[in-house]
């Protein structure tokens, strides 16, 4: 069972993502901010990380992504950015940080499953 780490500060959206991904048969873990996510990921490297960009706690999703990409143990970990920002510059920043996919809010749960499925 593929393991997915969801990093999202909004509880409602976290719930939505969890529900969606569990329906897709994934093992879902959650984090409310960047530092927590990195701790969880360090314990067990996930197959995929779903990263919100704008998060409190001093770390954005992009920061987390860059950290993940800088460590070789996460070289198999896919990263999907999830953001309310959809300017071309934002997408470019995501790619530059090392994300595999970029998904904008609001998103369709089905689309999320497709993107996740494609990535894994």
């Amino acid at each position: 069972m593929k393991q997915i780490l969801v990093v999202e500060d909004q509880a409602d959206i976290r719930d939505l993502i969890r529900m969606t991904l569990e329906m897709g048969g994934y093992d879902v873990r959650e984090a409310g901010d960047g530092p927590t996510a990195l701790v969880l990921a360090d314990k067990q490297a996930p197959d995929l990380m779903l990263l919100d960009v704008m998060m409190p706690g001093g770390m954005t999703g992009l920061d987390v992504c860059r950290r993940i990409r800088s460590q070789s143990k996460f070289r198999k970990t896919r990263v999907v950015m999830l953001s309310a920002r959809d300017q071309p510059a934002d997408r470019r920043a995501g790619k530059d940080a090392g994300a595999d996919e970029y998904l904008t809010k609001p998103f369709s749960p089905r689309e999320l499953l497709q993107v996740v499925g494609r990535s894994l």
Binding site: D9, A11, D15, L16, M23, A84, R85, P106
Partner: protein, 727 residues
């Protein structure tokens, strides 16, 4: 560039005129030289004419002198021929003499001779030995020196008219003047002339002046006669009488001339002045030139004087006059030309001055107009080689770029470009001067964003720079706001959209369906709230409080209703309110002010733990110079850091963006807008973990004069809201 030209009269000041006078000095010098030349020419011509006149006069005098001598010489010749007759014929007889005289045709060939005769010496045999004849002829003898007893008997007289026939035999020595001449000729053996003798003329009208010319005749021992001989051999005399008229007829001018001739016999001891004075010229005119000639005539000395008078039409006078007039005319023309030149130059200078003044005024005008413009401008003008050179910059340009006009004026486009590039430094951007619209940045500080445009015609290129720093800042803020707003809207929308889709597709198990619906409802509420707040902000921005319904309200009233609306019905209130009893009136929009108070109160609730008290204090503000009231709302909640406090009133700012607490971060921004539009102030003090105090200062107004209706309403409203505890 279109330029309206203002004409201004040329200003000519005194320094200009002195400068002009200085410049016409060479011309005046030439004029002076010409005058001097004219003077010199006049002098030269005059002196030449004078010399010429003198030469002519000398010539005239010599000529007259020679003629006189010649005429007297003629008379002498006549006497000698008579002598020759005597010599040839021996003692002449009357007939022979008569024939001789007739043959001479005296009247025709020798004008003026009226008498020709012979006189025989009688007595006085003693030779006059004491006076020896000198080489130059004897002078006048002293009186009484004549040989005593000597007589000169007229032997013959021609023409043989009646008077002359009667005179034959007369003694000539009886006449003093004649005796003098006879004696002189006897002693000197030469021809002698008498002093002039005056006789009444034949007509009796005029005095006639006559002379006698006497020549001695000697009888040699052999009985021959000659003109030379010893004094004691003197036989007698031949004599000729002539009158002055005859002597000088034809020699002296006849009145048309400007010459007077005076002849004086200077030998006479008692000279009676000139015996001849030709009155050709009026006496009162002084002679311009007087020449004198001396004549030695038969032992007498004549002084001839020629007095020349200026003739107004003399050639010299005319010539010098012509030269002078011509010179003066040339001078006049020269002067006129110089005047004209000066005038023309003055006009030209005035024109130049006028055009310069026009340029100055045009530049001043340009400066004045362009000085008003907030846009910087550079005007290049194409020169003869087609190179564009900077001819004008305006004050706004100098202000924007910090370059003085003197730094740049006259530079070519690329040179100006270098200057501008230098200003851009490392941080700015300065695309080279060229066509089209370009945005450039000057690093400052402050940083300036300029928009450059170019307009061009055949001669000129105008670059103008518009300061769009503010616009670009506003643009940036606006787009940032929209981006943030969109982001804020997307987040709740994501929940609504996602859960809805799951439910629509029946993918959610029934157990979780209720939870999903709840989330959708809550997030839809967030969306509504957000949209409301955005609309509020937009309205505040656009109308700036113009749509406020400003009416007098008491702060107690406003606070009461606000507290009521944040307190759930029936629940125990956490609010501790304290305030004065007398109503504090303020003018404002009740709905908006209540919105502010509700926002502040609900923040206090949201960010503090359940059950902790929220203090609300209302009081008059003693510190304020204006009449005002202070509302303090303090909680014992989580508080904020200093940095969070600083940003608290910014739009979309949230100290805790986790979404645990509902809101979009617009509440305080809106509150501040409303408070400030009411003339109030809002301030926030906070300490993390201790709590937050919001201070709201609002201006007060006088209590309204109660109308019947309001009076009725007032009776109800001051009641504190239900559930509020007044401490």
């Amino acid at each position: 560039m279109e330029v309206i030209e203002h004409h201004r009269p040329a200003e000519v000041d005194s320094s200009d005129s002195t400068r002009r006078a200085g410049r016409s000095l060479p011309a005046n010098l030439i004029l002076l030289c010409s005058l001097v030349l004219t003077l010199a020419a006049w002098w030269a011509v005059n002196s030449y004419a004078g010399r010429e006149t003198r030469r002519n006069a000398e010539q005239r005098a010599d000529e007259l002198h020679a003629k006189l001598l010649h005429r007297i010489g003629g008379y002498e010749q006549l006497l000698r021929s008579s002598l020759a007759l005597v010599a040839a014929t021996g003692e002449p007889d009357v007939d022979a003499w008569s024939r001789h005289v007739q043959s001479l045709q005296i009247g025709e060939y020798q004008p003026g001779i009226h008498t020709l005769g012979l006189a025989h010496r009688v007595g006085g045999g003693e030779p006059a030995g004491q006076v020896s004849p000198g080489a130059d002829g004897a002078k006048v003898l002293p009186p009484g020196s004549a040989a005593p007893g000597m007589r000169a008997q007229v032997a013959y007289l021609a023409p043989a008219d009646r008077r002359h026939r009667q005179a034959i035999g007369d003694d000539l020595t009886g006449d003093h003047a004649l005796n003098d001449a006879l004696e002189r000729s006897r002693l000197t053996g030469r021809i002698a002339l008498t002093a002039p003798q005056r006789h009444p003329s034949a007509g009796g009208a005029d005095e006639q002046i006559s002379f006698m010319l006497v020549i001695p005749i000697y009888r040699e021992s052999e009985g021959t006669f000659s003109s030379f001989g010893h004094a004691d051999r003197l036989w007698g005399w031949a004599f000729a009488g002539f009158d002055l008229g005859g002597l000088i007829s034809g020699l002296v001018g006849d009145g048309r001339d400007s010459v007077d001739v005076l002849i004086e016999d200077t030998s006479a001891t008692a000279a009676g002045g000139a015996f001849l004075h030709s009155h050709n010229v009026a006496h009162d005119r002084p002679a311009a030139l007087t020449l004198e000639r001396r004549l030695d005539l038969g032992g007498r000395e004549w002084q001839m004087q020629l007095r020349f008078h200026d003739s107004p039409f003399a050639i010299g006078t005319v010539l010098s006059a012509v030269v002078t007039v011509a010179g003066l005319a040339i001078n006049l023309m020269l002067w006129k030309t110089i005047q004209q030149q000066a005038h023309r130059r003055k006009e030209a200078e005035a024109r130049v001055e006028a055009s310069q003044a026009q340029v100055r005024s045009r530049n001043q005008w340009l400066d004045a107009v362009s000085g008003l413009s907030p846009d910087g401008a550079l005007v290049f003008e194409s020169d003869a080689k087609g190179l564009y050179r900077l001819v004008f910059t305006n004050p706004a340009f100098s202000h924007l770029f910090g370059l003085r006009p003197a730094d740049l004026l006259g530079l070519s486009e690329p040179a100006v470009d270098e200057w501008l590039e230098g200003l851009a430094g490392v941080d700015g951007s300065m695309p080279p001067l060229g066509p089209g619209e370009v945005v450039l940045e000057l690093p400052g500080p402050p940083l300036r964003v300029l928009q450059r445009n170019r307009r061009e015609d055949a001669q000129q290129r105008v670059y103008y720079f518009r300061d769009i720093t503010h616009e670009s800042e506003v643009d940036r803020l606006k787009s940032e706001f929209i981006t943030t707003a969109a982001h804020e809207l997307r987040t709740p929308l994501a929940s609504v959209y996602g859960f809805s889709e799951l439910m629509v597709n029946q993918l959610i198990p029934m157990a979780k369906r209720e939870q999903a619906i709840e989330v959708v409802y809550r997030q839809a509420g967030v969306l509504k709230h957000l949209v409301d707040e955005l609309m509020d902000l937009a309205r505040l921005d656009a109308r700036a409080g113009k749509d406020f319904i400003r009416e007098p309200h008491t702060l107690q009233d406003l606070l009461g209703t606000a507290i009521e609306s944040v307190t759930a019905p029936g629940a125990e209130t956490r609010i501790r309110l304290s305030g004065p009893d007398d109503p504090l009136w303020m003018l404002g929009d009740a709905t908006k002010l209540r919105q502010v108070l509700v926002n502040i109160l609900s923040n206090a609730f949201k960010y503090s733990a359940q059950g902790t008290p929220v203090g609300v204090v209302l009081r008059r503000d003693p510190a304020s110079p204006h009449v005002g009231a202070l509302i303090e709302v303090s909680d014992q909640g989580i508080g904020m850091t200093r940095e969070q406090c600083d940003h608290a009133f910014e739009r979309f700012y949230r100290a805790d963006p986790s979404g645990h607490v509902l809101g979009a971060g617009l509440g305080l921004a809106i509150s501040r807008e409303i408070v400030e539009l009411h003339g109030g102030r809002i301030h926030l003090d906070s300490e993390p973990g201790v709590g937050t105090t919001v201070r709201l200062w609002m201006p007060l107004c006088d209590a309204p004069v109660p109308t019947a209706r309001e009076g009725a309403a007032e009776a109800v409203s001051p009641e504190p809201a239900a559930g509020v505890v007044t401490s």
